[in-house]
Symmetry: C2
């Protein structure tokens, strides 16, 4: 049995869901994996850099209720001091995304890995802009950089390739990566407006803070780049992806396409050309119900892989939610520390 | 770099496809995994128990062309003598299935594990009838018992649970596990006869030797039992599954269902009831296009998982073929020996 010091860098909805999940799964972690844990550090823009060196770390109910946090813990000053005081074995990073640079999360995770902790992130900007550097750093430190929840919520695509598909070569992939646009399109197919669709996506909690990231295809574009970087070892950047959002789609056009059995979806694609160059697109496309991605509905996400070793493999995650996103980080934690 | 002695127990279509794949992937195995290999034993009902202790083992072109096999190698007498002479590190077992007992494959694999080799099987009868015993034996011998191709061809479901979904609990699953019945149903939906559908499935090479295993739902039933045994730790036996085949489905009934948007499929289901008891069925059911299994067509296979940690996860393998089935065994080999 080993006790791990856990730290949360960012403590919004996903971080809180993960803290709750750790509590729920404590008996399984202990019995199946010999894992004990305590939370020794929590940092966010709102609460600052807090650590707690009590034997049990932070009291979780207090942490989740958010009252008197500063009474129960001590502030430190910036990432380095915080890591030094909280002494994490594992840091869960869920700070907000800067899709253009991946910062400041990349700098944070560099410090995390240099401090000797495993780095687990739900931040796709980090993967697009910092994967190669951080992965090298993790390898040289003998630590893990894991990010199963960063791209397709909890759908286990990175561990699938790492563990289940050895020596298989990925030739391309396609996917429905944006629940917001899926929800907007389906709302308009039902004869309602774009704005009503966006409102529905926001009510469901799936829209990005700035919904134009979803609507203009930026969000899906960043995901394509993250997947290409990790799974195909091709450091694709967002401006190399041909991108078109869903603003030009009218209810009439969408209804006609749906009635014809070939509805529109915002599809993301990446495919190796004969010249070895990756061609990547994010744009509305009509697909038929018999397409592997043909019945991805609502907030569900899916990815279809073309591999040298099998004709096609599709992974569909149905209506992922906060808990399933948090679970992806819990799975990363277990995989990082299990022997 | 380590050289592994490989042995083939059963050498039909899958075994031969695996031998070809090993040749194709040799450079990747060497460069990515430090794996060298030679084939030191091949056994089947037709050719007997052959071994070859030449430095390079069997000559692969000779092995695949099947001429003068006995000139190039020596016969031994039964599994024990063969294992003693061929000294395998890994044995690939692809003998023909006895779904009622899993024999003689279970006895063979017991001998394989006792001889100190990893056991890799594509035989679902082994999993249904021998998983617990063989798995304990493998653990005590410090060897691996792996079987990624035994149930859903190459769809990586066992490694997915082993590596990618730690601490997640499976509450139930459903799936389209029988390409033969899928092909027969689709042929009849197109207005042609049951016999034409069966002929098509046989021409595609997906029908079992005795097609009544597929048509009466036995094949899917054995798969349900294998999945429940491994993924849910519930040793379900075929006679505990409520089973109904597709013989009662007429073209007229199938066409009407397809026209209504809720086509029939032979669906396999297993679900934990409130009393903790597993309820399992294999029978024709109508499903809608929006169902996770709604667009599984032709020879494709799919499984949908219900987990405590995520609302639903579907894996679809599109038109698996001999090479992809062989790839599942190659992946098992790599996972068994990688450090």
């Amino acid at each position: 049995m080993k006790q791990y010091n856990l730290c949360f860098l960012g403590f919004g909805n996903v971080g809180r869901a993960l803290a709750r999940l750790l509590v729920t799964k404590s008996p399984d972690l202990r019995e199946q994996y010999g894992i004990e844990w305590r939370i020794t550090g929590v940092a966010s823009r709102r609460i600052g850099w807090l650590y707690n060196d009590a034997p049990d770390g932070f009291d979780i109910p207090t942490l989740l209720s958010d009252h008197s946090l500063t009474d129960a813990s001590s502030p430190s000053n910036g990432i380095e001091a915080w890591l030094g005081a909280a002494r994490p074995d594992v840091v869960f990073e869920t700070t907000s995304l800067n899709p253009g640079t991946g910062q400041p999360a990349i700098n944070y995770l560099r410090a995390v890995l240099e401090s000797g902790a495993h780095a687990i992130t739900a931040n796709k900007g980090v993967i697009v802009h910092g994967f190669n550097e951080l992965n090298r750093l993790a390898e040289s430190a003998g630590k893990h950089l894991l990010f199963e929840s960063a791209v397709l919520d909890s759908a286990p695509v990175f561990s699938l390739f790492r563990e289940a598909l050895p020596a298989a070569k990925l030739r391309g992939f396609s996917g429905v990566f944006s629940s917001t646009t899926n929800v907007i399109i389906e709302t308009m197919e039902a004869g309602r407006s774009f704005e009503e669709g966006l409102k529905t996506a926001q009510d469901l909690g799936v829209a990005e803070t700035d919904p134009s990231h979803d609507i203009d295809g930026w969000d899906a574009t960043v995901k394509v780049c993250a997947l290409a970087s990790v799974l195909m070892n091709i450091p694709l950047k967002p401006d190399e992806v041909t991108r078109e959002g869903i603003r030009e789609l009218s209810p009439r056009k969408l209804q006609a396409a749906r009635a014809a059995g070939t509805p529109f979806k915002l599809l993301a694609r990446a495919k190796l050309g004969g010249n070895g160059k990756l061609v990547a697109t994010v744009r509305p496309e009509q697909i038929s119900a018999s397409d592997p991605l043909g019945n991805v509905r609502g907030t569900s996400l899916a990815i279809h892989f073309e591999l040298d070793m099998m004709p096609g493999l599709t992974i569909t995650s149905h209506r992922p939610n906060l808990q399933s996103t948090a679970y992806g980080m819990l799975a990363d934690f277990i995989n990082a520390v299990k022997t």
